[in-house]
Amino acid sequence: MASVTDAELKEMTQEERVKALGMTTEQLTGKSMYIEFDPDATERFEYPWAPSVDFNKRTEVDCDGKTTTEVNNQIRALMAEGYGTIVLQNPRGMHSLGVGILSKLNLIIDGSTGYFSTGLIDGPNVRITGRVGWSCGENMMAGTVVVEKNAGSTFGAAIRGGDLVCRGSVGSRTGIDMKGGTILVGGDTGALSGFMMQRGRMVVCGNAGKNLGDSMYDGTIYVGGDIQSCGVDAVEAELTDLDKAWLTRKLTQYGLMPDKGVDHFTKIVAGKQLWNYDNLEPNEKKLIL
């Protein structure tokens, strides 16, 4: 703006002048208008380099005696050969299994995994028959992960899309910093679940620990059981028919529907009392956002 000279300003129309001096209050565009999913954008369904796999082509990988890198490389090699269903046997608590898979795949982990299992994924359908350690499904973009037993803390940290399901109970800080997608928990969740959540939905059929939804920006948390306490700026909201319909559909899809239905769920949203962005002048807003 400082580069605009008086002579140039005189040349401009009133509208152009206002814009050049940075005094407009136009609506912000760009990332704030981010669309989570557009069914018409078919060309974005797959990465151009994704291997073409056939779900009917099935194989098994024995993790015993292998390192995490060896197992993960073998998954990639098998996908390149066209295998669409891969079963990992004997994981026995190994860390970082199945991370960074960016295309469609049926991955079945027959047993329990350690930390960071199936994180950073974009597309695969994963079923884990055992338990998972900390940070399962961290930063996942799309796809589904279904854990049959319990999960550790930071389940679905910074998740951006897809469905992350745990039939058992999960640890603390579930869905911390989540930015989209859905987390479904059949059992209980620990303290500070939904901490700094920004978008997306989390459903807990059991009880929630203390400071639920602490400092959440946006998004929705549904809890079927008791909430020990809500965190700063997390408030209860009315459970609408739209919510009930969505809950019924999602929970039925994964076989987690409670016997007594969904009417007893409590809905927690951001109170928006910590939203201070709009106190900025339009010019400051441009600099920051």
Binding site: G93, N150, G168
Partner: protein
């Protein structure tokens, strides 16, 4: 980061030494600096097992004079034992700087322990009827090999693999810690204690001694202080969550009990497995699976959770 592990067999004895080694070896990536064990054997009534170190492992490379110094220190310790009327029934030296005594003694062991530690360079690692506390630099298989732990029979044990963050890589800062001078109590810890100096000064005012600058030693002293004042183990663990600040998960073992406590933020990991005859816990499931390869059900304890199991 650090890794902790513990297991307890209900009403039966087992190869606890070998099991702990397998668990701690699986946790090596969480802390390669040093490894420690506190394992509980049968012991015989009236006899005490005393483990002590008379020098640090790094001292051994400091010149040939150290050998003479070590001999002098051992002689001094044995003179004190004699002075307190303790007779040495057996003596072993797994390394030049560490010793294991079986003592028969019916006097005040706390007074004797205090007297022994007046000797420069000598630290009692543990004393008790069942407790054997072993810690040294290296991973679990190194330490177990050096101290012959792979065949150790017992009912329960706790262990630790250390990644040194707030104090030195040496035996004095390694875990587990014995709750000096109280028999058979040991502690392992994963985390950071933020009111360490406040609590340490409070404990020092009450007459307790600290051998290292490692924050975990505070938990041992704190637990010892509570138990000595008649507080039950479970109450001591519960009280520590209010009184001690920071992020921590720690395990405490006594002659016939194993307890755990997790801080109010649940910031440090622990995975639990419970069955009718065995309870195993570790920072990561991979350690439990090192001794239980079959499919098992495990879970994470929540914040402020306290549990105590009886052998």
């Amino acid at each position: 980061m650090c890794g902790i592990a513990g297991l307890i067999h209900r009403g039966a004895s087992s190869n606890v030494g070998g099991e702990m080694t397998a668990m701690l070896q699986a946790l090596k990536h969480r802390g390669p600096d040093s490894t420690g064990y506190a394992v509980y054997g049968e012991g015989s009534e009236g006899d005490y097992i005393m483990r002590l170190k008379v020098a640090e492992a790094e001292d051994m490379g400091s010149g040939s004079r150290i050998h003479g110094i070590i001999e002098d220190r051992i002689a001094a310790v044995e003179a004190i034992l004699g002075e307190h009327g303790a007779s040495v029934k057996a003596k072993e030296a797994p390394t030049e700087y560490s010793l294991r005594y079986i003592l028969s003694h019916d006097g005040d062991t706390a007074r004797m322990a205090n007297h022994i530690e007046e000797t420069e360079g000598v630290e009692i690692l543990s004393m008790g009827n069942g407790l054997e506390l072993i810690k040294d630099l290296g991973d679990a298989s190194d330490v177990a090999g050096l101290y012959g732990l792979n065949d150790f029979q017992g009912t329960h044990g706790i262990g630790h693999t250390r990644m040194a963050t707030e104090s030195d890589v040496d035996i004095r800062s390694a875990h587990p810690y014995w709750a000096f001078p109280y028999n058979d109590i040991s502690v392992v810890h994963n985390g950071q204690i933020t009111n360490y100096w406040i609590m340490r000064r409070e404990m020092e005012r009450k007459g307790h001694r600290f051998m290292s600058n490692c924050d975990s030693e505070l938990l041992a002293v704190y637990t010892a202080h509570n138990l000595a004042n008649g507080v039950a183990l479970e109450d001591s663990l519960r009280r520590s969550i209010d009184e001690i600040d920071g992020v921590f998960t720690y395990l405490v073992a006594t002659k016939d009990q194993l307890g755990m406590a997790k801080d109010t933020m649940a910031a440090k990991p622990l995975v639990l497995y419970e069955s009718d005859n065995l309870i195993a816990m570790a920072s990561e499931e991979v350690a439990i699976r090192a001794i239980l390869p079959q499919e098992i059900d495990t879970y994470d304890p929540y914040d402020e959770e306290v549990r105590v199991w009886q052998a």
